[in-house]
């Protein structure tokens, strides 16, 4: 470390949800003994843009529209050639490198997954605002999600419960701007503070949500017995999902206009993203340094004494220099893979050979996601169309099945109903996205969508190649009947699923993350139950014979399970939820306490969904935001008590 380090009170590594929220809270804290807290945020990637026009243009002109499409660094050279991860300064996993030919190829994929049995399929961004490509759903965890030992003795409880976290959920919902309805969200023992209302009214359900609600309103207990809820289930209720998406103007941002593009970018910023909070933090005095990759946390006498970082230019480097930052309190907010990577890289000249904050040996372990079983079909010609490609990507879900005695033996799941038709599912994703794939099929006599058969299209022949009104009518009929339903499953923690350091490096010569990953039988049994529920839902929608769910050839996430004596070819997708890799709990078996403070180093906080000991089924962002706001309070208290 050089002598001319940046000095401040709080150094935050990472400017995503957790980092931005903490930066804003601290920078807006009234002076403590006459001094405002000086906050510096390091961001590995690009800074906050003056507007999102460049990102939108990247998205519009991308021939493959995937979550990372709008965001830097560029994925390909202008000639279309993939830029390898060894040539990118602050790289990231991408959905384009999850195919059977690329996921274990270290020249293509950023993550070294050579030791994974099944692929870790989630991706993330590294730029100011972090997870700006998120969907925006903000359900709370349910109370039993914090106490999984009641179902399985081998699972850890959280060191904090729903009741303690509840006021921070309120605060996070205000910060993110959540639209929701208290009555609708009062299920599975979720309760709200007295008189609480969400900041905005709920997002209204889509046409398909309404149709599916009607179809599932009357069931028999026999039909749903397989769910193992321990009580008769005679209806499945679709509930409007709470979302950080404006249902009316909120904090100078517009109401949602249903652009059907929450992932990867809302063109009108009606969906919250952390650049909003980040700008408030910098307006409040926090300093953001972008293109700065933290590469070592320095420890002296059990306290963090500084953090070294590398600066670079452009997307891919070159390195332009090094720097260091000295603070009283350090917050690592670099997500569930980059945070353990940084901790493990920090060896302090051999004094911390297993990395920083790692006396428990739990840093990097228990990597979890919400593996998603995704299904898609057509409504029958006799039904009213689903009218997809309209409204936010998801507006409703079935949450009520996410808790029950079945959790002793299989994973829970939530069921989401898509408003984006077959945009990311057609043909198992092997041939591109809809409406492009189906359009191409009927123009060119192909059948990637499997819709171009007489039985489905009701045309005179298979593999029709059409022009004119016949083409337009066929596409309108088929595409307006498309629907998608996904089952996001709980994953149980397993120390073998872990992040370590690879021998391969990025453009700054830092070791890339190495991932070992697999899906347990517990999670697979959750997916098996999801298959049974899919069959019931499709039946009620009249779509049993119009089920187009398939596993693409060579899908590396494929696994087979016997269901009712039939071998089913199954697979899963990533939810983008990177969790569990520096969990909270007791000092022997975890990395941080309920304040997300390191057991080993009193002035080090590790924030984000990496602290989740178990993951329930709720999208993690709201919970990690609530935890971050609680951490901010703890940091303020620290400064108030330490003159």
């Amino acid at each position: 470390m050089t002598d001319n380090c940046i000095e401040c009170d709080v150094a935050i590594i990472g400017s995503g949800f957790a980092g931005s929220l903490i930066a804003k809270e601290l920078s807006q804290t009234p002076p403590i003994r006459g001094n405002r807290l000086r906050v510096v945020v390091l961001e590995a990637g690009a800074g906050v843009q003056p507007n999102i026009n460049d990102y939108l243009k990247r998205f519009y002109t991308a021939s493959i529209k995937v979550p990372e499409s709008p965001y830097p660094p560029a994925l390909t050279e202008p000639n279309g050639k993939l830029i390898g991860p060894a040539n990118i300064a602050a790289g990231r996993p991408t959905s384009r490198t999850l195919s059977h030919s690329s996921w274990k190829d270290l020249k293509q994929a950023y993550l070294d997954q050579t030791d994974s049995k099944l692929p870790f399929k989630s991706t993330y961004e590294r730029l100011a605002g972090g997870t700006s490509h998120w969907l925006g759903q903000t359900p709370r965890l349910v109370p039993h999600d914090f106490q999984m030992s009641m179902y399985r003795k081998d699972l850890p409880d959280w060191p904090i419960n729903y009741k303690t976290l509840s006021p921070y959920y309120d605060k996070a919902e205000a910060e993110l701007g959540v639209s929701g309805d208290v009555e609708e969200q009062s299920f599975c023992d979720i309760s709200f503070s007295k008189g609480y209302t969400y900041p905005m009214p709920r997002i209204p359900p889509s046409v398909f949500d309404q149709d599916a609600s009607n179809a599932l309103a009357q069931l028999t207990a026999d039909e749903t017995n397989f769910l193992g809820m321990g009580k008769p289930v005679t209806a499945l209720r679709l509930r409007s999902l709470p979302a950080a998406r404006n249902s009316q103007p909120y904090r100078n941002r517009r109401a949602c206009a249903g652009n059907t593009n929450c992932i990867p970018i809302c063109p009108i910023q009606a969906k919250y993203d952390p650049t909003i909070t980040l700008s408030e933090a910098t307006n409040g005095g926090a300093k953001l340094i972008d293109h700065a990759v933290a590469n070592e946390i320095l420890v002296e006498n059990n306290l963090v004494s500084g953090i070294n970082f590398i600066t670079y230019k452009g997307d891919a480097g070159p390195q332009t220099g090094t720097g260091c930052i000295k603070a009283k309190v350090y917050v690592i907010a670099a997500n569930g893979i980059e945070t353990p990577r940084l901790l493990l890289m920090s060896k302090n000249g051999g004094r911390t050979p297993n990395g920083v904050a790692n006396s428990s040996d739990m840093v990097g372990r228990n990597l979890m996601d919400h593996p998603q079983y995704v299904t898609w079909g057509l409504l029958p010609p006799s039904s009213k169309p689903a009218y997809p490609y309209r409204g936010p990507l998801i507006t409703s879900a079935i949450g009520d099945l996410c808790d029950g005695p079945f959790r002793a033996t299989r994973a829970a799941f939530r069921v989401s109903f898509g408003n984006e038709g077959w945009n990311f599912v057609v043909g198992g994703g092997a041939f591109g996205a809809d409406p492009h794939v189906t359009t191409l099929d009927f123009v060119n006599g192909m059948n990637s969508s499997r819709l171009n058969t007489r039985a489905v299209s009701q045309l005179a022949s298979d593999n029709s190649a059409l022009f004119g009104a016949g083409l337009a009518e066929t596409l309108r009929d088929l595409i307006s009947r498309q629907f998608r339903i996904a089952f996001a499953c709980e994953q149980d923690p397993d120390p073998i699923n872990r992040v370590t350091l690879s021998t391969v490096t990025d453009a700054l010569n830092l070791p890339r993350p190495k991932i070992a990953y697999d899906i347990s039988d517990y999670t697979k049994q959750g997916i098996v139950t999801a298959v049974r529920l899919k069959r019931l839902i499709f039946k009620k929608l009249g779509a049993t014979k119009l089920d187009f769910t398939e596993r693409a050839a060579g899908d590396p996430a494929g696994f087979d399970e016997k269901i009712d004596d039939q071998l089913e070819q199954l697979t899963y997708g990533g939810a983008g939820h990177v969790m569990g890799t520096y969990r909270m709990g007791d000092p022997k078996t975890s990395v941080v306490d309920s304040w997300q403070r390191s057991h080993d180093h009193q002035n080090l906080y590790l924030v984000g969904s990496g602290t989740f000991p178990t993951v329930g089924t709720a999208n993690p962002t709201l919970t990690l935001s609530a935890l971050a706001l609680r951490t901010a309070e703890n940091i303020v208290a620290f400064f108030k008590s330490h003159a």
Binding site: P267, L440, S448
Partner: protein, 242 residues
């Protein structure tokens, strides 16, 4: 489709789909009309523009391009050229295609001229000129033409529908075995092209990431009276030109 009764749209060009009896009668009637008109229109057309290659600044070539595109895509000319308004006293080729603020038709004309490796664009425009009274006849003539023209015609439909360019040669390769499942490479012509894709409008939706609709529209069917008229997809699909 209760909300989008077929009677609200014009006939479809192919007689392949099973239709109610009354609808079939209407098609036969229309087909009869078309045949008469086509017969009356058989007259030599000056081939000068064809010889010189398609010219984006020639109103005749642009009108031929619009007629070709409308026929192949099954939409009204006005969906491709919003400022076009027909003067029924003049020959369709002598009319003003109009200029609109987006003017994607000019971008596409130029793009095809620049990227047509089959040298069939002139031929397709000539087919449109020769059959300018009948979309059905344009389609029949394209289908009867050689592979170069036919696959370029498919590229042109995909361009209007998706704003993306698929090379005719790639389409031909993937069409060799009917029912192929394959990736077909494509490039997005521009941000404007993506946001002007017609397929979204045809299916009652909007390009993902580009909507002019207002909060809550998704809880109602397309073409709800509460939604703005300009976003309606009623009347987009047609088999008749212009």
């Amino acid at each position: 489709m209760r909300e989008l009764p077929k009677q609200r749209h014009d006939d479809r060009s192919d007689a392949t789909r099973l239709e109610p009896e009354s609808f079939v009668s209407r098609r036969r009637m229309l087909a009869g009309t078309v045949a008469t008109t086509a017969a009356a229109a058989v007259a030599p057309i000056a081939g000068a523009a064809y010889a010189a290659g398609p010219d984006v600044s020639s109103p005749q070539d642009m009108m031929a391009f619009l007629l070709l595109s409308a026929a192949l895509a099954g939409v009204h000319v006005v969906n491709l050229a919003p400022e076009f308004s027909q003067d029924i006293k003049k020959d369709i080729l002598d009319q003003d295609p109009g200029v609109d603020p987006i003017n994607v038709k000019n971008d596409y004309f130029r793009w095809i001229n620049a990227h047509d490796s089959t040298s069939s664009f002139g031929k397709l425009l000539q087919i449109a000129k020769d059959n300018r009274q009948s979309g059905i006849n344009i389609i029949a003539a394209v289908n009867a033409s050689d592979d170069s023209a036919k696959f370029l015609a498919r590229s042109i439909v995909l361009l209007w529908y998706l704003g993306s360019w698929y090379e005719p040669a790639d389409l031909k390769a993937n069409a060799a075995t009917p029912g192929t499942r394959a990736v077909t490479p494509s490039v997005v012509v521009s941000s404007k092209a993506y946001t002007q894709g017609l397929v979204w409008q045809i299916v009652g939706a909007h390009p993902m990431g580009y909507s002019n609709l207002q909060f809550g529209y998704w809880s109602r069917d397309p073409n709800d009276p509460n939604d703005a008229v300009q976003n309606s997809n009623f009347g987009v699909i047609t088999a008749t030109i212009p």
